[in-house]
Amino acid sequence: MEIKPTEISEEHSYTNIISVVCPVYSGEHFLVELTEQIAHVRNKFTASSAPVTIGEAVFVIDEAIDKSEAVLRELQQQHDWINVITLSTGYGQHAATAAGILHTSGDWIVTLDEDLQHHPKYIPQLLAQAISRQADITYASPLQGPHNHFLRDGTSRLIKKMISWLTNNRHVSDFNSFRLIRGSIARAAASVMGHDGYYDVVLGWFTHRITVLKTEMKDIRVQQGEASGYTFKKLLSHARRMFVSSQTKVMRSIGMLGLLALMLSIGLGIYILQGVLMGDALNVRGWSSLAFLTLFFGSVTCMLFFVLFEYLSILTLHNQGKPTFYSVDRTADKQLLEHIDTLKTL
């Protein structure tokens, strides 16, 4: 389907395009239904007065372990708005998502999982949330734990909170693979992201206008008795990736500790010197000078490590593609704002 936007003006209307991106690993049993649901939302947009539509759906095959590719090729024949990209090997969800995003043309991009845990029916509400809150990203957030398993859901939340504290990034807890992102920002983040980057952390380099929408999410695989694609090992892998993509305050904490120790050592040194000059005897010989020297050189070492890691952090982030600046155009949002009520009820 071709979209024919013209200039934004009083006389002409601009059709906003939503691109859907879905990494595929083992979606053989879900892809047909998923496509039907996307098509359904697409039809609803077309039938409504809102100047927005789903222009394309990009499925990225990331070394799928089942017949997902055959299913997608069949769907591609039936729907001209479906695009299928096959990666040469399994690069992982974030890389596959970035690859899919780099094949889109949409003003807004929705990323979702293959297994209907993320239902396309929420796409209009995600967009409405972004427009009404003047945000660039809307994360879907589960109303209750998607895996319906206390340990799994609880561990996931705990690790996100820890990473959030360590990286000083308050949005970590909101990160979700079901997200709506402003197209230009999504593509910019995807184009700078390194091979080990965590996509949502990279998104944070471009915008802090993030909002959250509560939606229903269910791990249908588990409900149908299949093994969940979610494992503890994967969770740790995600955590590691998040950690290395971010500047952490661990190093800064070490630096602060070093500074504190330095000040303490100076204070102790002054105290000892004063005692010596005033002729006061100290109880344990050698203790005071030893304590002072240990504290002083220990703090200097901490400070040196802090400086070293700070430079390393800057170099790493630069290497990972963190931009100096990026500009964005949000002027088309006002047109969608006029149709916000329509979007919310779609």
């Binding site: 071709e2 013209t6 200039e7 889109t104 043309s105 184009s191």
Partner: protein, 307 residues
Amino acid sequence: MNLFCQRESLSAGPHPAVMVIGSGLIGSEIIRSLESDHYQLVYRSKLRWHHRSELDAQCRLFFSEVASLQLSQITVIWAAGKASFTSSSAETAREYEDFQTILKTLSSYFQSHSIPVHVILMSSAGGLFEGRRLVGQASEPLPLRPYGQLKLDQEQFVSDLEGVDQHLHLRLTSVYGKISPRNRMGLIPTLLYNGLQNRVSYIIGRQDTIRDYVYAGDVGRAVVQCIYTLPEIERRSLILGSSKPSSLLEVQQCVESIIQRKLFVNYTAEKNSSSITFSEPLNFPFLVNDAMHTNISKIYHAFAGHR
């Protein structure tokens, strides 16, 4: 005008020939691909475009030189043209007139000698579909400026031209190729060249402007394939591109990673800086390499090797 015949067929009676008009970025790649495919240059004549009143005569001189060749069929590939996005109506009108003159002369000559004529016209997807996204093969062109209208007129002219047995319009997306400082260069070779010189590149567009970029080498190979399969191609107009939309930021990042230097870029958002993209699948019958990084590396190393 460059006339090619296949080497092994030259001495074997009537044989097909290929005439390439234009030897700029695209024309030179088509010529390179023909030579790789065992075609031999039989005759070359440089058209003197500034002597417009003599174009007809120049063509006739060309015919007299090649009259001895026994041609069973000729494929004329039009890859010439000076007009660009910023050309005025007067400039495009002049170019259209020259185009008509040459093609009419060619077609009537070959028709009078009972030589079947096929025409492959290098058109412009950007000119025809400016400001549009997710354009498909069946999309109707809607040019917004004289350049786009020129391309549409050229396509219509070829479709209606008497004496042409088969024709194909190849609508090229944004083509990038070798660095050639003396000639007009597109975005990517300009970024490469200026980047190596530590100069500022002035780009009409924004970091998030998205376009479809296709490598000139791939275009050349695809055109040569079209020569063989022309009768089998169902559509008369085909978009030739990579189908992968790339933002200017992505292109900039790619070039920086290849030349290992920061680029100094000044972006200017103007009316002709809108995004133009094309939907999958384009169903183009020939493989078009969309590995931009590989192609840009090729361009860079070819240039660096000659410095």
